[in-house]
């Protein structure tokens, strides 16, 4: 088989090596535009798990590569004048030119033809090959030539960044966060041999402009960065190698092959450098493609399909983690209110690939110190974050695990170990019920439920609200938003006359008298719950129910003072908060369940709106925001996954400065510990079967 590989980077060379050693009669040519020793960038990082694959794929290159490795196991976070070190991360790195040199020599030894300084601009000139491999990087000519067939999507991602070297040899993967008058700068630095380190500087584009770096020469940029990071560099220099400020290009392709052409490495996909996986993914692509070709000799199309089926899901996971990580570094200035320990945990867990348990396992003393800091008692050891009490207003929750419960199930759930039992919606009035099974606040024996919760060691929180346009439906066991039969429907009210779902009744817009009555009903409900000793009151301002209907412009079409801009749409919900505060004790926590953002592309609440709303609620005396998203209207396209609300909670908490409660399908203790330790929320609503959890406990040591 005749194979032409375009691009002599790690992906292309490694594939040529693997095909060359396969022992088949392959005729392999690698074509490279540049000279053999020309390269961009300094060192490349590998994590421990990528090394086993390299060892098994080609032992001679593995030994040569790992012989020269810089190895370390620590991550240092330099922040507010402190250096926090977390160990156990097992990194290694190599000088990029050395890696290429090793791969070039091995390829030549295996009979691969290497042609440098040949610039191919027309893919048709390669068509005498049985297989054309696009290993030609982020700007791949082969991908661009058939952009439609590959379904490629490119977009800039993350901050402005510049890639320097330095003659300072770090002994850890080092992050530096440096506030300036223009904004925050950060560094990602790591050693790659015994003389030098990679030193990447990044900042948001507006910070970059404010600092004048958009007009700075290469020498000016170096001078600026050397001065800014003089302490960290400790007299060492920054080295340039065509070191220009760049935007990271995110590349994604629906298909990685087309006819006899296949893409590998950066040509097919990129993952933001802040998770340091580009070279690893590229070399793993080469391994998977070589293996597929070995399994399907003479059947190139089948091999290409198999290669793609194997690699795409893996790469997608890395790209998702990389997106999250890139987003983190864009927003990191919002986290500079955090104390150093929590800032470090937040950083280390940013991409979702490292959890609280991973950190604790990798570096027990770091994990112990972080838990002890979180517990805040100055002890050497402490329970993990989920089992740390939380004080809100005058209440102390015994732990941070929250369980949602029907009012009728509170008794059964109370002793299951959760610190807070939160009821599902309780209506302020009969018209505010979701279904006939929704309890009305005045009809429940609250003192008995409070007693049951307390007897089980939990506090009781009641979610008080009004279903609005989502009222008069069948019970949720049957479906949601399925209207009751015509004869059983009660009249609906809402911010505006917007029907919620198919066959739902059109609600009547609330008038001034209706709003005043509602305020007093909320206040009366709150008084009743306060009197009964309920520990926490949660007002429902989420998911398209009555108060949320005012908040989202998808459902608020009012032309009075309660419609229009965000401040106007918030007016009535804030009036309700104020009415409730008049009858709810100031020393007991008041929460609001809030839709922080809609999922719709246009016209709904944005995250920025949600953060503004959270801030306004906090200033109005709300102690806690229970973060939700979407459902303002029936047809929204949510982005579901485990912990799908965590990022919204993180932003509300850290940008609005208000404690948050978050659910979003958190199913494990470790997920919750990670969310809490990293300051993404203050309480976690876990999705577990509370009865099963309780039963298991009862059957054990009990």
């Amino acid at each position: 088989m005749k194979v032409t590989v375009l691009g002599a980077g790690p992906a292309g060379l490694y594939l040529a090596i693997l095909l060359g050693r396969a022992g088949r009669e392959h005729e392999i040519t690698v074509i490279e535009r540049n000279q053999p020793d020309a390269t961009f960038g300094w060192g490349v990082v590998f994590s421990q798990d990528s090394l086993a694959a390299l060892r098994d794929a080609d032992y001679p290159t593995y030994t040569e590569i790992t012989d020269t490795f810089a190895r370390w196991d620590a991550i240092d976070v330099c922040y507010r004048g402190r250096v926090l070190r977390s160990r156990g991360h097992a990194f290694s790195a190599i000088r990029r030119t050395l890696l290429l040199d090793i791969l070039q020599r091995r390829a030549a030894e295996l009979g691969v033809t290497l042609r440098f300084q040949v610039d191919v601009t027309d893919p048709s000139t390669l068509h005498d090959a049985d297989l054309v491999v696009g290993a030609d990087g982020v700007n791949s000519m082969l991908r661009r030539a058939d952009a439609q067939a590959f379904g490629s999507v490119l977009r800039p991602q993350g901050c402005k960044y510049v890639w320097f070297g330095t003659d300072l040899v770090f002994d850890a993967f080092t992050f530096v966060f440096k506030p300036t008058e223009h904004g925050l700068f950060q560094v990602h630095a790591y050693p790659f041999d015994e003389q030098r380190s990679t030193f990447i500087v990044e900042c948001r584009e507006e910070v970059w402009r404010a600092a004048g770096l958009d007009e700075a020469s290469e020498a000016d940029s170096i001078a600026f960065c050397e001065k800014l990071f003089a302490d960290e560099l400790a007299g060492h220099r920054l080295l340039s190698n065509r070191s220009l400020w760049l935007n990271f290009q995110r590349v994604q392709c629906a298909s990685w092959h087309h006819g006899r052409t296949v893409l590998i490495g950066d040509a097919a996909h990129t993952a933001h450098f802040s998770i340091g996986s580009g070279t690893k993914l590229a070399m793993e692509d080469a391994i998977a493609l070589a293996d597929a070709l070995e399994r399907h000799p003479e059947q190139v199309p089948a091999a290409l399909v198999e290669y793609e089926l194997e690699r795409q899901p893996v790469v997608e996971r890395f790209q998702q983690a990389a997106d999250t990580s890139a987003g983190y570094f864009e927003r990191v200035a919002a986290y500079t209110r955090l104390e150093p320990v929590q800032f470090a945990v937040n950083l280390l867990t940013r991409s979702g690939r490292v959890s609280h348990a991973n950190l604790t396992l990798r570096d027990p003393s770091f994990g112990r110190a972080a838990d002890a800091w979180f517990a805040g008692r100055g002890t050497a050891i402490a329970a993990p974050p989920l089992f740390t009490p939380l004080r809100l207003a005058g209440a102390v929750m015994p732990n941070r695990a929250v369980v949602a419960s029907r009012v009728s199930d509170v008794d059964g759930v109370a002793g299951a170990g959760f610190g807070l039992v939160l009821t599902q919606l309780v209506a302020v009035c009969p018209e505010g019920r979701v279904s006939t099974s929704t309890p009305v606040v005045s009809t429940v024996d609250w003192p008995a439920l409070v007693e049951a919760a307390h007897a089980g060691g939990a506090l009781l929180a009641v979610q008080l609200g009004h279903a609005g346009a989502r009222g008069a439906t069948r019970p949720a066991s049957f479906g949601v938003d399925v209207p009751l039969p015509a004869g059983e429907v009660w009249p609906l009210v809402a911010a505006s006359a917007v029907r919620y779902g198919p066959y739902s009744a059109v609600p009547r817009p609330l008038d001034a008298a209706g709003m005043a009555r509602l305020c007093s009903e909320f206040a009366a409900g709150a008084a009743l719950l306060a009197e009964a000793g309920v520990d926490l009151l949660e007002l429902d301002l989420a998911h398209g129910r009555l108060l949320a209907g005012f908040l989202s412009s998808l459902t608020n079409h009012r032309d009075d003072s309660n419609g229009g801009g965000l401040a106007d749409r918030l007016r009535f919900p804030l009036e309700v908060v104020s009415a409730v505060r008049s009858s709810w004790p100031a020393d007991r926590p008041l929460a609001v369940r809030l839709t922080v953002a809609d999922w719709v592309a246009r016209g709904g609440l944005t995250v920025v709106d949600g953060i503004c709303a959270a801030r306004a609620l906090a200033s109005a005396g709300v102690h806690l925001v229970h973060v939700e998203a979407g459902q303002s209207v029936a047809e929204e396209p949510p982005s579901y996954r485990r912990g799908f609300l965590t990022e919204l909670s993180d932003r509300a908490r850290n940008e609005a400065g208000v404690p948050t409660l978050v659910g979003g399908y958190l199913t494990t203790i470790d997920e919750a510990n990670t969310v809490l330790a990293a300051a993404r929320a203050d309480l976690c609503l876990l999705t577990l079967d509370p009865v099963a959890a309780h039963g298991a406990a009862g059957g054990g040591a009990g």
């Binding site: 949510p638 579901y640 399908y665 999705t687």
Partner: protein
């Protein structure tokens, strides 16, 4: 986990005689359900008529659409068809619905392709709330957030569109997240599916390439995922079971009743 089998209502050359024989043998075999696909333009047999016939020659086995393209029919017509099959079958029907993937089916049916999601929601609301006679479990399929939300809002379960166990696991996690997001108690039934060609792999994969030709390069991936050996079937079943699938439908790709026997043997 229960394992069901597809009726070959969209494979080339399938006729009434084959379908009835297939249904009889499935009823006597280790299968929980017989399921049909739905395509208007492609050479195939209509799903509800096929299930009605299957119902008449079987006693115990469940019947399912996996899935039927809801919006091609009016809500009332869909409800009538489903209720009729369910009645003939003595209550054995599970109705799986989704928007489908083909524009030409919509054009042939004279139905606007835009707004198909909202139209399916309306049908589901109708099936749930407006026709009291229909007591049939509903499944909804689709990968988008909107489809998952629709599933959680109206259905009893989720019909996954196929792929390796890890793809099912990821979709199932999203389905469960959606279910809790709308406040449904309990959890949705999770149904999966996969293609099988135990007799003539070449013919089976050729059919899949043709059936999914409209997806472009994706057809090759579907064909590559076809289970062509007993080992592959066993691994697939084990994988789905491990990921919490409740009912796995193995769909035929060749109109040969011996493929049913081969599958029964593998599963026995």
């Amino acid at each position: 986990m229960r394992v069901g089998i597809g009726l070959p209502n969209t494979t080339p050359g399938a006729d009434g005689a084959l379908l009835l024989e297939w249904a009889r043998r499935a009823d006597a075999g280790p299968f929980s359900t017989v399921a049909v696909l739905d395509r208007l333009v492609y050479e195939s047999l209509e799903p509800f008529a096929t299930l009605a016939a299957a119902a008449a020659v079987t006693r115990r086995i469940g019947l399912a659409t996996m899935i039927a393209i809801g919006p091609l029919r009016s809500a009332a017509m869909l409800a009538k068809q489903a209720a009729t099959v369910n009645s003939i079958a003595g209550g054995r029907l599970t109705l799986g619905l989704a928007v489908g993937a083909r524009l030409d089916d919509y054009q042939a049916a004279g139905v606007d392709h835009r707004g198909r999601g909202a139209r399916l929601s309306e049908q589901l609301a109708y099936l749930r709330g407006r026709c009291d006679g229909l007591k049939v479990p509903l499944l909804v399929g689709g990968n988008s957030g909107a489809a998952l939300l629709r599933m959680a809002r109206y259905a009893d379960g989720y019909a996954h569109g196929g792929g390796p166990p890890r793809a099912f696991a990821s979709a199932a996690g999203k389905a469960l997240a959606a279910w809790h997001d709308v406040g449904r108690p309990g959890r949705p039934a999770l149904w999966g599916q996969g293609y099988v060609a135990l007799g003539d792999a070449e013919r089976g994969t050729a059919y899949l390439r043709d059936y999914y030709a409209f997806t472009g390069p994706f057809a090759e991936k579907i064909a590559a995922g076809c289970l062509t050996t007993p080992r592959a079937v066993k691994d697939f079943v084990r994988g789905y079971q491990a990921e919490g699938c409740d009912e796995l439908i193995l769909l035929p790709t060749v109109s040969d009743v011996h493929d049913l026997d081969r599958l029964a043997e593998v599963l026995a």
